[in-house]
């Protein structure tokens, strides 16, 4: 996980609730959602590093804490009366085709592109990015080389929280409402997408481009099944089959390659 982002779903809806109540603009909204995300991420980072608990356990625990508190405080209420500028979203290069269907670059895709570019720059073009990979590969070795593990963890989890916060805004814009229970249970889907893209669960490997491909694979598969006319009830079965086949084939070919290397 250290090499890549794992995103436990965060209680970022709180941010949006606040933001919408107080009528903030785009920038403030993003900043607020990001800040709440970062805060949640930092809590995780502290537990992971200082208590040396495995990050899976910490994120399951904090997932329960954040989610429980969120529902408890908000009472599970929806917010649908969003300000107009938020409901309209952002549309670039808008045009309509002959039959009147509008096309354009919307907020969701813009944020997605920005997020991927920032993540790519962070991981590939900065010193910190290399440190993250190093820590994922071997934490003890990274520590002895003088990398500050706590600082890297703070950055990784903080960034994760920030992106999750932004993602919550994007989701809210798409759904045109804020629902505390939406996205809950998506953690494993996200994990699947990232790992399909070649990231390792033990850390140290994985690329942003791979993650894009993983997400695209699942999205195209689900969309394609609907287009082909498969009943949407069978959607999940195909997704599961794809995941299982993909990881099996990858592992199998890895094993073959290792065996071939051993013989030579």
């Amino acid at each position: 996980m250290f090499g890549r982002r794992r995103r436990p779903i965060r209680a970022d809806f709180v941010a949006l609730t606040l933001g919408i109540h107080y009528g903030l603009g785009w920038f403030a909204l993003f900043a607020l959602a990001g800040a709440v995300g970062i805060l949640c991420g930092l809590i995780n980072a502290i537990f992971v590093t200082k208590l040396r608990i495995s990050s899976i356990i910490v994120s399951i625990a904090t997932l329960n804490i954040f989610y429980g508190l969120l529902i408890f405080i908000t009472g599970g209420k929806y917010i649908t009366s969003l300000p107009k500028f938020f409901r309209d979203g952002i549309w670039w290069f808008e045009y309509e085709d002959a039959s009147g269907v509008p096309y354009g670059l919307n907020l969701q895709i813009l944020v997605l592109v920005v997020a991927f570019v920032v993540a790519w720059l962070l991981l590939n073009r900065t010193n910190i990015g290399r440190q993250i990979y190093a820590m994922g590969g071997n934490k003890d070795a990274a520590q002895r080389l003088g990398f500050h593990v706590f600082r890297i963890n703070i950055l990784v989890f903080g960034y994760l929280g920030f992106v999750a916060g932004i993602a919550s805004l994007v989701q809210a814009q798409l759904a045109q409402s804020v629902t505390p229970t939406v996205l809950v249970g998506k953690e494993l889907d996200v994990l699947a997408a990232v790992v399909l893209g070649g990231a390792s669960l033990t850390g140290g490997t994985g690329t942003v481009f791979g993650a894009i491909l993983g997400v695209a694979l699942l999205a195209i598969l689900q969309n394609g099944l609907v287009l082909v006319g498969v009943s949407s009830y069978w959607n999940q079965w195909f997704v599961g089959l794809t995941i299982l086949c993909a990881v099996s084939i990858t592992a199998w070919s890895n094993r073959r390659r290792l065996a071939a290397k051993a013989i030579n």
């Binding site: 625990a61 959607n235 592992a251």
Partner: protein, 341 residues
């Protein structure tokens, strides 16, 4: 240890007691919690009624946690237990509701036995797929079981179209809602599972191999153990435990559905780790798990009686594991510094 004299001796003994593992630590926490709840709620929390209701609720999560624990001990993870349980429950529900109402006499019982066999078969298949992909193809357990989880759930949804199958014969319902001498049958089933699993883990060669694989799979393989076969066994065992959980769950609700008990998935990991199971494998006892389950159940029941939101309970469960694990870390550090003095 000349330092340990006078007033510090009880403190030292307490520390040593607490460092003895998960069970003493959890029992102390449990004692403290029961004390607090008793002050707040009086007899409502320690009365017969409260105990019985707790005993009804505990086994589902308990059996599922056992299924999770077995794989955790081997250094793996089984995310597909709930989905397997639901798929099995649906298989059995289908046989029960299709054939049993029309059958009489011997066949009435016969179809129920067939229903149980059918679900065992389904679970074994899922377990074999998991085990094969993990042990023989070398896929990481999280991923493999994530795949089978999605597949099983997809299959359940695809077949039932998300509907509920309900209405089972009395013997099945009795398993979930009946009592024997005031003790719920479900709890008896859970205890009847705990004992053989504990014996299997601690007294049999298979169990020792599981612990060894959890500590170091490579070292175990080089010691001449067929780790792949053991892992296959682990995942089949985990699936079979999920079957029993499915039986209890469908009996209690008198229905089966593709999405029952999904919120239990991560809680089972929580319970196992709280009970002292090392998430990286190799360490953990059934006793610790039972203690952890009782602890979680007491909190949930007491919060229910106190009229708190069930979501707050979930938050407290999450906080509890962090507190208990940090206590363990702090005590360990304290012990180290003490010894170095």
């Amino acid at each position: 240890m000349s330092l340990v004299t006078g007033a510090s001796r009880p403190v030292f003994l307490l520390l040593r007691f607490l460092r003895g593992g998960a069970v003493p630590m959890l029992s102390l926490v449990l004692l403290a919690l029961v004390g607090v709840f008793w002050l707040l709620l009086g007899d409502r929390i320690v009365g017969v009624g409260a105990l019985q209701s707790m005993a009804f609720q505990l086994p589902e999560l308990g059996i599922l946690s056992l299924a999770m624990m077995v794989t955790l001990l081997s250094g793996g993870l089984n995310l597909s237990i709930i989905a397997t349980a639901n798929l099995c429950a649906l298989t059995m529900a289908w046989v029960l509701t299709t054939y049993v109402p029309g059958a009489h006499g011997l066949m009435w019982g016969g179809w129920q036995v067939i229903a149980v066999l059918a679900r065992v078969a389904v679970a074994s298949i899922v377990g074999l797929i998991n085990g094969f992909v993990i042990a023989y193809l070398g896929v990481s357990p999280i991923l493999a079981t994530l795949g089978t989880m999605t597949m099983c759930k997809g299959l359940s949804i695809g077949i039932t179209r998300g509907n509920v199958i309900s209405g089972f014969p009395d013997p099945i319902v009795f398993l979930g809602n009946g009592t024997v001498a005031g003790v719920p049958v479900a709890l008896l089933i859970f205890l009847a599972l705990c004992v053989p699993i504990a014996v299997l883990l601690n007294k049999s060669p298979f169990g020792h191999k599981i612990y060894m694989i959890g500590s170091s799979e490579k070292a175990t393989r080089y010691s001449g153990v067929d780790t792949r076969r053991v892992l296959l066994g682990v995942y089949v065992l985990s699936s079979l435990l999920a079957v029993v959980a499915a039986l209890v769950m469908m009996a209690r609700f008198n229905s089966a559905n593709a999405a029952y008990g999904e919120s239990y998935l991560l809680v089972t990991i929580l319970a196992a780790v709280l009970g002292g199971v090392d998430p990286f494998g190799g360490f953990g006892k059934v006793g610790g798990l039972i203690m952890a389950l009782i602890l979680l159940q007491v909190i949930s029941s007491a919060f229910n009686l106190l009229d708190f939101s069930p979501f707050l309970t979930v938050a407290i469960w999450g906080a509890l594991i962090i507190v208990v694990t940090s206590l363990g870390v702090v005590l360990q550090n304290f012990g180290v510094s003490r010894r170095s003095v």
